[in-house]
């Protein structure tokens, strides 16, 4: 790919998806564009890009979709996900025991593993109580192909074995030919919608928990703060925002504050701007909890 080609693609991804694609991602773009060119019976990247500029045979949308990063696994970042299951979701359950209604949104859900992972965790925590609750996890993504896979709910043996032990696989999947299909008890908790996060997005619900993991790090700064404002609009005060490992929101000075002891969990505040609060384990240690365990009491006030 020539430098001009790269600049063209970089700009297109910024305008259409808000992605900040730095030059170190060049090899990813190169590989995916080569595959896309082959699929379109074009000789290579040069012809593919000429085609985009001159004939609308390949739309910008198709290109953005082809270049979307779809890597994901069940229970991604296992240690973080365990804390979600062991600490955050039980707190949320306790906080919502009055209404028995929970709405969760997974933005950039790709092929659905995060959404199903959360649904499986909820089934494990709630047990038979699940029948008395109204719980829905919505997965949203720009990539139609990934969403179709999510909706089919079928995964290869390689995919199911990444992030899950065999007990969870047997409890939540059944083998269908070469694939493993998610059980209905899990599927009924989830729904998927196509959505470009920078256009966002009219949801009627307020979401108690929004997972936006490994999305923000690909966005330009202006889109990042814009997206967080939009997410804030469809969360109640006290709503939880769950971001990826190493995704830093320290540039955000209003709307969310980090929950003590958690590196990936924020809580929405009233709209008034306030200083960002740094996470610390000090409170957890003073309360006699183990190092790294959160005090995490705020969700009870949801």
């Amino acid at each position: 790919m020539t430098p001009d080609n790269f600049k063209y693609i970089q700009n297109l991804l910024k305008v259409h998806a808000g992605w900040d694609m730095s030059e170190d991602k060049l090899y990813i773009l190169d590989r995916r564009l080569t595959i896309l060119a082959r699929q379109k019976n074009l000789s290579g990247i040069k012809e593919l890009l000429e085609d985009i500029e001159t004939k609308p045979k390949i739309t910008s949308g198709e290109l953005v979709e082809a270049l979307a990063i779809t890597d994901t696994t069940f229970n991604r970042d296992y240690d973080v996900f365990r804390r979600l299951e062991k600490v955050v979701l039980p707190q949320l359950k306790n906080a919502k025991k009055g209404s028995k209604r929970i709405r969760i949104l997974s933005l950039g859900c790709s092929s659905g593993q995060e959404v199903y992972s959360m649904a499986m965790a909820i089934n494990r925590i709630w047990g038979d109580e699940i029948y008395d609750w109204d719980i829905k996890i919505i997965g949203a993504d720009i990539n139609k192909k990934a969403l179709n896979k999510a909706q089919r709910a079928k995964y290869s043996i390689f995919e199911v074995q990444q992030g899950m032990n065999i007990k969870d696989i047997l409890a939540n999947f059944k083998p269908i030919g070469e694939d493993w299909e998610v059980n209905n008890s899990v599927k009924k908790l989830v729904d998927f919608r196509e959505c470009n996060i920078i256009d966002l997005m009219t949801f009627l619900d307020k979401f108690d928990l929004v997972a936006c993991r490994n999305v923000l790090k690909y966005l330009c700064e202006e889109y990042k703060s814009d997206l967080l404002k939009k997410i804030h609009n469809f969360q109640p005060v006290g709503g939880l925002l769950y971001v990826g490992k190493n995704e830093d929101l320290s540039s955000i000075t209003s709307g969310y504050k980090r929950i003590n002891g958690f590196t990936c969990l924020y809580q929405s505040t009233s709209n008034a701007p306030e200083k960002n609060i740094e996470a610390t384990n000090k409170d957890a240690i003073e309360n006699g909890l183990e190092k790294d365990m959160p005090t995490f009491v705020r969700p009870e006030k949801l």
């Binding site: 696994t73 074995q161 990444q162 992030g163 032990n165 007990k167 047997l170």
Partner: protein, 121 residues
């Protein structure tokens, strides 16, 4: 350094597993049947035992039963690694005390993921 014993009669499987585990920081001992595995186990218990199900002389389940009876044998994490995909049979292995089960074929990411879940990484 954590120690792992890999017991599998297929040489290629042993080689691939050993390479992955060494890359993940394990000291690896390869054996090709259950009897050899028991000899190694009696010398020193490993942190992790990866067992094929069907092996000559002594099969994987018998090895696991013997380990469970050894002093501190319950501290050894045991992962079965087999092409057997019959759900009832897999469940029976878990009921006998296996910590996890890998359905072949597998790759680096699967082993890494399983070890993370077991707290070995």
């Amino acid at each position: 350094m954590k120690k792992c014993i890999i017991a599998d009669d297929a040489r290629v499987v042993r080689m691939v597993s050993a390479k992955i585990l060494e890359n993940l920081g394990f000291e690896v001992v390869e054996v090709e049947d259950g009897e050899e595995a028991l000899e190694e186990l009696e010398e020193k218990l490993p942190d992790l035992l990866i067992l094929d199900w069907k092996m000559p002389v002594v099969d994987g389940i018998d090895v696991m039963r013997r380990v469970k009876k050894m002093e501190d044998g319950d501290k050894v994490k045991i992962i079965f690694c087999s092409a057997v995909c019959d759900l009832e049979k897999i469940q029976s292995v878990l009921n006998e005390g296996a910590d996890d089960y890998i359905i072949k074929p597998f790759d680096h990411d699967i082993i890494q993921s399983k070890l993370t879940i077991l707290g070995l990484l």
